[in-house]
């Protein structure tokens, strides 16, 4: 099958590559761009490990073809740090609140939470749980992930973070 030339912006940098139409976006990101933070989990659009941010939307990159991302603006977990290289509020939250176990689901969680907080900067706990319902953690559960997002929300909004009682 003839390959197609694609260009897009990933984490602020213009990138390009040759892909078959059937090349999934997640494979383009991992294999062509060598950005392996975006993970492949279930491959059937359930687990959310492959979540990236495309033109202001959270998208499961295992269910979109790279050719469809032509010209789009993508943020992956590699683009989540602050411009000076320090950890963003979300990354800091995951670290401080122990929001990761094995870490496999973490990139998708962080990228999804990034968009959630853009749309709803001060989400309630139920809103956070619904907001990350497309991301599955198979290690233990979501309590610390929810706390990590609450931490980031508080920091971004300049309000005090109060850890909820267990």
């Amino acid at each position: 099958m003839a390959k197609t030339h694609v260009t897009m912006k990933v984490n602020g940098a213009e990138v390009e590559g040759l892909v078959e139409p059937r090349t999934l976006l997640v494979h383009f990101i991992r294999e062509n761009l060598q950005m392996t933070g975006t993970h492949i989990g279930c491959e059937t659009t359930h687990c959310g490990a492959c979540t990236v941010d495309i033109d202001g939307m959270s998208v499961k990159s295992c269910t979109m073809f790279a050719v469809q991302a032509q010209g789009s603006d993508i943020i992956t977990v590699e683009g989540m740090a602050n411009a000076d290289g320090t950890l963003s509020a979300l990354q800091e939250g995951f670290r401080m609140m122990h929001g990761l176990q094995c870490g496999f689901c973490t990139p998708g969680m962080i990228v999804r939470a990034h968009r959630l907080l853009k749309e709803n900067p001060l989400p309630s706990e139920p809103e956070i749980r619904m907001g990350i319902s497309g991301n599955i953690c198979r290690c233990t559960g979501y309590q610390n992930i929810v706390k990590a997002i609450q931490y980031a929300s508080a920091k971004i909004n300049g309000v005090e973070f109060q850890e909820a009682a267990e």
Binding site: L24, G48, M57, K60, T63, M64, M130, S133, G134
Partner: protein, 286 residues
């Protein structure tokens, strides 16, 4: 899991998309949000040799009001959820869209894909039947409108003819003060319904004046539960009436036995969804 090879096409107009579909024949498939088709392609349960991506067609986007609410086929669930017009005039559509899959899928999943795929598990078709919606189908010989109630012929088998694309959904706006509810039992977020029921009704003097009931995933097609709806008209939804309506709805259900449960369980749950949806719809009616 990587899909088989195909050629990718991105037409800019419905006319071009229809021409491609006609010229390329039965191995060509339109691609909307892709959240049903792409997983099927990865599992090689679908092996189209040409994909006609509808994302480049601006005319298929957007929500407008011309008496009816007209929703372009490529309007996403996320856009439905963001629409003030939908929230105001058709809150049941908002309620049902929120129960489809998860946030990431709703950013990509489209109303056109949801209703055109013919998957009995999809949430919008039964709702569209209950609302009296119609679908615009455009092909080489022009456009035609088909009622949602006449569209579904079997699992994944619809009134769409080869070479036709579903371009918009037209929904009559229910009466002001109508009651509504979409009750869906699912095993987890993101799952299809074990059984679900959509109810749209109006009340007058404490009694049900009009009522339609749609059923999701309890048959190879979405269903209109006409007898169940008839059973509640003129009543105040007392316990005996609710029981009768649930029984009438269960009587037309013929779900598959699958991981969501055996047939009897799914029919039982279907009846409960009808009961709950009727009660909640009546409680929000003004």
């Amino acid at each position: 899991m990587i899909p088989g090879s195909f050629s990718y096409h991105r037409p800019a107009s419905v006319t071009d998309a229809v021409k491609l579909l006609v010229d390329l024949g039965e191995d060509a498939r339109p691609l909307a949000g892709g959240h049903s088709l792409v997983p099927m392609m990865k599992l090689r349960l679908a092996t189209p040799t040409h994909l006609i991506d509808l994302h480049g067609i601006a005319a298929l986007k957007g929500i407008s009001r011309d008496g009816n609410l007209v929703i372009g086929a490529m309007t996403t669930q996320h856009e439905l959820l963001a629409s003030d017009e939908v929230a105001k005039s058709m809150p049941i559509l908002h309620e049902a869209a929120l129960l489809i899959a998860d946030p990431q899928v709703r950013y990509r999943g489209t109303i056109g894909g949801n209703v055109a795929n013919g998957d009995p598990g999809n949430d919008m078709p039964a709702l569209m039947m209950a609302l009296g919606a119609s679908y615009r189908l455009e092909g080489a010989s022009g456009a035609r409108d088909v009622l949602a109630a006449d569209f579904y012929q079997g699992a994944y088998f619809t009134a769409l003819e080869p070479g036709e694309i579903l371009t918009s959904v037209s929904v009559p706006v229910p009466a002001a003060g109508h009651g509504y509810a979409y009750e869906k039992l699912k095993r987890k977020v993101g799952d299809y319904a074990t059984a679900a029921a959509a109810v749209v009704l109006t009340m007058a003097g404490g009694k049900v004046a009009t009522c339609t009931i749609g059923l999701t995933n309890v048959h190879e097609t979405p269903l209109l539960a006409a007898d169940a709806a008839k059973a509640v008209i003129g009543t105040s939804l007392d316990a005996a009436t609710l029981k009768k309506a649930a029984a009438a709805a269960s009587a037309i259900m013929s779900p598959a036995a699958d991981a969501r449960g055996p047939v009897e369980y799914r029919k039982h749950v279907g009846g409960i969804m009808v009961t709950r949806a009727l009660q909640r719809a009546a409680s929000v009616a003004k």
